[in-house]
């Protein structure tokens, strides 16, 4: 009996080993050659591999049915539509703050649309490119609307809830000094305690990045009781990142962003794009939507790419409203340049 059982154990171990050795063969994925032509790799593979956040409200989150949605996710979809005319041909790779850079460096993802701040060191020593800034985030203030405050500059003498040890605290002090305003900071380490201190009225204002403020505000039982002030006191330009040294791929990512922004500027949206493409006589619109000029081919896609992308994804304003408006995030610096914002598409010619 005993030898029998042991033999079984041994066979079992060998069997499990064998079956798992077989697994990697199945698990091998076609990988892009980093540094080389990502565009060709993506096209020949037939799917876009897109690095996204593992979950950030409004930017990238799976819904109840496990489908990815969000502001950054829409950029992945736009690229897939431009390349394949099919926004289901995407592998979403959830990445954490820790493994996101390796995922891009090692070629596991082709593009990383993961609310990543473009900085000099990431651009240079990490070997990335940030082709476009799709969301200008920055530190802001939230106050109770009962306070009747319309601008952060009216907050002289106020108590402000802030997390310690982050650049947030430093930014707050710098901005107060620059504007000759005095704040009394209430410094609390844990985010939940910080928020409940603000809600309970221990401080007049709460400061962190605008998108974080908006997310906090949206989960309050009475969101309308809180208002996010228009001032933004630090620079957090977020945008999709690609590997350095692959300019054609970088171009496509950049111009896909400009396409969305320009479409909004020209009043083109997902509902009217086909009609505009057929009837509009503005030269730049005609070039942009592929009627003449052959701009799509220059980017390495076909000339109908713009119509497709806008039809499926919508323009920048639609993408913004669909994902971020519900969180209470205002356009602010992300308004069109003509509306006083910083979203400025370079010309399509």
């Amino acid at each position: 009996m005993r030898p029998m059982r042991l033999a079984t154990l041994r066979t079992l171990g060998a069997a499990v080993l064998a079956s798992v050795v077989a697994v990697p063969a199945m698990a091998q994925q076609p990988a892009p050659a980093s540094g080389a032509a990502t565009m060709e790799a993506v096209k020949s593979r037939g799917t876009l591999s897109c690095g996204v956040n593992t979950g950030l409200a409004g930017f990238a989150q799976p819904d109840s049915q496990g489908r990815w949605a969000g502001f950054d996710v829409d950029y992945c979809r736009a690229l897939a539509v431009a390349l394949f005319n099919d926004d289901s041909k995407i592998r979403y790779v959830p990445t954490t703050a820790q493994n996101r850079f390796t995922a891009l460096q090692s070629g596991e993802v082709d593009v990383m649309a993961r609310n990543t701040t473009a900085t000099l060191s990431r651009d240079t020593s990490l070997g990335f490119d940030f082709p476009a800034v799709n969301f200008y985030d920055g530190q802001g203030f939230m106050v109770k609307s009962s306070l009747g405050v319309k601008s952060a500059k009216e907050l002289d003498g106020a108590t402000v809830c802030v997390q310690p040890g982050t650049t947030t605290e430093q930014n707050l002090t710098d901005w107060a000094r620059a504007n000759n305003i005095k704040f009394t900071p209430v410094v609390i380490e844990r985010l939940e305690e910080l928020v409940s201190a603000y809600v309970a009225g221990r401080c007049d204002a709460y400061t962190t990045d605008i998108s974080g403020l908006a997310a906090t505000r949206s989960v309050q039982p009475q969101a309308a009781e809180h208002v996010i002030l228009p001032e933004v006191i630090s620079k957090e330009p977020l945008g999709p990142a690609v590997r350095h040294g692959d300019q054609r791929w970088s171009d496509l990512v950049r111009w896909t962003h400009y396409l969305l922004v320009a479409a909004e500027e020209f009043g083109i949206n997902s509902a009217n794009v086909e009609e505009v493409a057929a009837t509009d006589t503005r030269p730049e619109v005609q070039r942009m939507l592929g009627k003449n000029g052959g701009l799509g081919a220059m980017l390495g896609v076909d000339n109908q790419w713009a119509v497709r992308v806008i039809k499926v994804i919508g323009n920048y304003g639609e993408v913004f409203d669909r994902n971020l408006k519900a969180l209470g995030i205002q356009r602010g610096p992300n308004a069109q340049w003509s509306q006083g914002g910083q979203q400025y598409a370079q010309p399509f010619r």
Binding site: V23, T102, S106
Partner: protein
């Protein structure tokens, strides 16, 4: 005097037979006596008992109120947006189980394509079936190995698809409970044989093998699982030639196997050392080869000695798989956390965590109970 003597000798037949053998008084045995002896033996003990009863009853009533009486089990969904106002209006007075109702499929299966959820569901059932079959001693035969191969292959086919008309589902879309079970099952099933080899190697008289095993155990035990996962996830891909990517889940799986094996090896070594030297010498005297001696004499005795610490490590590993959240794999816990990121559901973490805790508890408690039974059965000869 004579009266009493006479009385004592006079039989009282009718009365005696009617009474029969009597139970001891209620206050001497049974639950009442136990309570008197243990809970109400002195005024201090009584006070503590009463205070605790009061607290427990209050807490239990509060819990029942929260979890059942005031709870909301579902909310309407309009245009894909869950209307959670009713839940928010509760203000913590009741549980919002609606979040579990709405998100349970995401928690169990992650981002796996919604229409194909029957596939991971079937895989979970297959895993559980596999555990049950493997736990029954009457199935401890050669055929069990084939059952394992067959089931694991079937699970692979179901999860990946791409054959028999099943659509292909890439690994990064897998998630939820099935990921936890895959990581734990493969982790334990492969780490265990590896750990036995390492434990034997560490006691080997061949210096190279011994040094290698010591080095392996000390290196792996010297770092936390999180840093192993980081190395597998972040550093390892950079060493590979360009264009070659090894699946993220597989990298994490290998890290978990190596980690578990190092800990299990020390447990097994403990068992090997506990065996009296006579067992080794007797096996040698019989002229058995090293592998015969190990297989027939040493391991069967050593392993049954270390069932409690083995299962302890198994349970620990089962829960440690949740650390893969730091490399972006959606196991059960991460899927639960992700489910409450959606603005409509933010703030309902307790309900999600209670549910996940319950699932973990069921698996761990089952392991624990099974090991107790196994221990009692295998060590029956040692009970005196």
């Amino acid at each position: 005097m004579s009266d009493t003597a006479a009385e004592a000798t006079v039989p009282r037949p009718a009365q005696e037979s009617a009474i029969g053998p009597r139970r001891p008084p209620l206050l001497a045995v049974g639950p009442v006596a136990w309570a008197r002896a243990n809970l109400f033996s002195s005024w201090l003990s009584t006070a503590v008992t009463l205070a605790l009863i009061y607290l427990i009853v209050r807490w239990a009533m509060g819990f029942v109120d929260w979890a059942f009486v005031n709870a909301i089990w579902s909310v309407p969904v309009v245009n894909g947006q869950a209307q959670t106002q009713a839940c928010r209006a509760l203000n913590g007075a009741g549980a919002c189980w609606a979040v579990v109702t709405e998100k349970h499929r995401f928690m169990l299966f992650g981002t796996y394509p919604y229409e194909e959820h029957w596939r991971p569901a079937l895989c979970v059932l297959l895993f559980i079936g596999l555990y049950i079959v493997s736990a029954m001693r009457r199935f401890w035969r050669k055929e069990l190995a084939y059952i394992w191969i067959g089931t694991l292959t079937l699970i692979g086919v179901l999860m990946w698809g791409g054959v028999f008309g099943l659509s292909y589902v890439p690994q990064e879309r897998w998630g939820g409970l099935v990921i936890t079970l895959i990581l734990a099952t493969f982790g334990i099933a492969l780490a265990f044989p590896l750990s036995i080899l390492v434990a034997l190697g560490r006691r080997s008289r061949l210096p190279a093998i011994k040094a290698l095993c010591v080095l392996y155990v000390e290196l792996i035990r010297g770092v936390p699982l999180i840093s192993l996962l980081f190395m597998a996830s972040v550093m390892f891909p950079l060493f590979l030639p360009e264009g070659i990517n090894i699946d993220k889940l597989l990298r994490a799986q290998v890290a978990i196997i190596l980690f578990a094996a190092a800990y299990l090896a020390e447990v097994v070594r403990g068992g090997l050392q506990a065996l009296p030297r006579g067992q080794y010498e007797a096996a040698d005297a019989l002229g058995l080869s090293y592998w015969q001696k190990t297989g027939f004499i040493i391991l069967p005795q050593a392993l049954r000695l270390v069932i409690p610490p083995l299962v302890n490590t198994f349970i620990g590993m089962f829960k440690d798989t949740s650390l893969v959240l730091i490399i972006g794999i959606f196991d059960l816990l991460t899927a639960g956390k992700t489910a409450i990121i959606e603005p409509a559901w933010q703030g309902f973490g307790i309900e999600i965590y209670v549910t996940i805790g319950l699932i973990y508890f069921i698996f761990c408690f089952a392991m624990s109970r099974y090991s107790q039974g196994l221990e009692a059965e295998l060590n029956r000869h040692r009970v005196r």
